[in-house]
Symmetry: C2
Subunit: 248 residues, 2 copies
């Protein structure tokens, strides 16, 4: 069974939702048969590399609420994070373009280090005072902590072409699947769960999707194709009418 | 609807099967709703960069058949290619490691040029006399013909780390889906078609998979999550209990 999770480093409910999903997964009896795949989503793809800063004034300006309200929202999210045992700096977090981090996550995926890097990026952005956006060397240090090579990470971050199309392709896929916000959980491309719902909701979704998981592929066409039709395998090409292994 | 095609540049039936599938797709009434994705498969992943040469003696030695038999097989495949109007040099084709070409195809995928490059690689390997394997500059020239930048292509071919994990991940996926040879066609991860079957078999498979295509995602959890639960979207984060847009 495969669970895909669309999320953004800028999204506090993605940070919480990941922990809530993982709490449900840890108790799920078939957890070892569940493959979790992370997918890219930017809350604001129009942000440039240099558009970053403290979240409270940015959010207040962007959505037309007072800074007091934006700060109250942050404290509300912080209280929810505390319930999950997650650190949350309610006055310090940054907001900015996550495009480079998503590209780096794709690079990390190829090295089997995406999960580690994602957790470290969340922790750094939501749980630590130091700003994350705009500080390439801090991101590089997290990449190293996740097991990547510093110069590799620097090279990926410096070149927007690296994994840029991969990030955008996943963002398009989210839209095609009907996601308008994140976190967005997709189970076997059949069920969708939107938001940082309580662990019980994820338990229910995992249970339902497991009961309804895809069957093995159904073979169509000539069922004896591998013998009688035109297939190449590690033992050569099965040519119809030819004696493949004569003389072996 | 999505059709994934696992194939190898070394596999003549992949070359034929692609043309047969495309003939069926061109006549399929819902062809514009079919997304075709190419996947990597190596008939012989153990080959090194320098293990290449004329196919007839290599195949004869590898599978313990006489060179006359191997040559007869090639002529049999050539006759099938001719029926599809595909050029096939029955005595000249090369056999070698396709790992670098698969990596380059992944790079081309990100540039929207994979299909073009795959067709050119097939055409060069099966339809032209000049050897393809071991001639990096010939592969680079095909990449340029496909619309890629020569220095980009050279850089990808020179570094086995570039897209190496992506190639191997798709090869693992083929094994997980039960493929033992190629071409291997997977329709919506539900139906599998093995081999270069006749166009009618692909027409039948497309029709069946279309009739049975996946429904949109079923929402699980709190259906009003976007309003009442914790989601971040382009308009900010919906915080339960908070008045998000007061003051707007």
């Amino acid at each position: 069974m495969r669970v895909e999770i669309w999320s953004d480093i800028n999204c506090p409910f993605c940070y919480l939702g990941k922990a809530r999903f993982e709490a449900a997964l840890a108790r799920f009896p078939h957890r070892d048969a569940v493959e979790v795949v992370h997918r890219s989503f930017e809350l604001d793809p129009s942000l440039g590399e240099d558009d970053h800063g403290q979240v409270v004034p940015i959010i207040a300006r962007k959505y037309g609420i007072s800074e007091a309200q934006a700060a109250a929202n942050e404290r509300g999210i912080g209280a929810q994070a505390a319930e999950m045992g997650l650190p949350y700096v309610t006055e310090g977090r940054d907001y900015g373009s996550s495009f480079g981090m998503h590209r780096l996550l794709h690079f990390a995926r190829g090295k089997g280090r995406e999960e580690q890097l994602l957790d470290l990026l969340y922790r750094a952005n939501f749980g630590e005072e130091a700003p994350l956006f705009g500080d390439t060397e801090r991101v590089v240090a997290l990449a190293v902590e996740a097991g990547l090579d510093a110069s590799d990470a620097r090279a990926v971050l410096a070149d927007p072409e690296r994994f840029g199309d991969a990030v955008r392709a996943e963002e398009r896929e989210a839209a095609e699947l009907g996601a308008t916000g994140v976190p967005f959980f997709v189970l076997d491309r059949k069920y969708g769960v939107s938001g940082a719902q309580p662990p019980e909701a994820f338990t229910q979704a995992l249970t339902q999707a497991w009961g309804d998981r895809p069957a093995p592929l159904t073979a169509l066409g000539d069922p004896d194709a591998a013998e009688s039709e035109a297939v190449c395998g590690p033992d050569g090409c099965a040519v119809p009418g030819a004696v493949k292994d004569a003389g072996a």
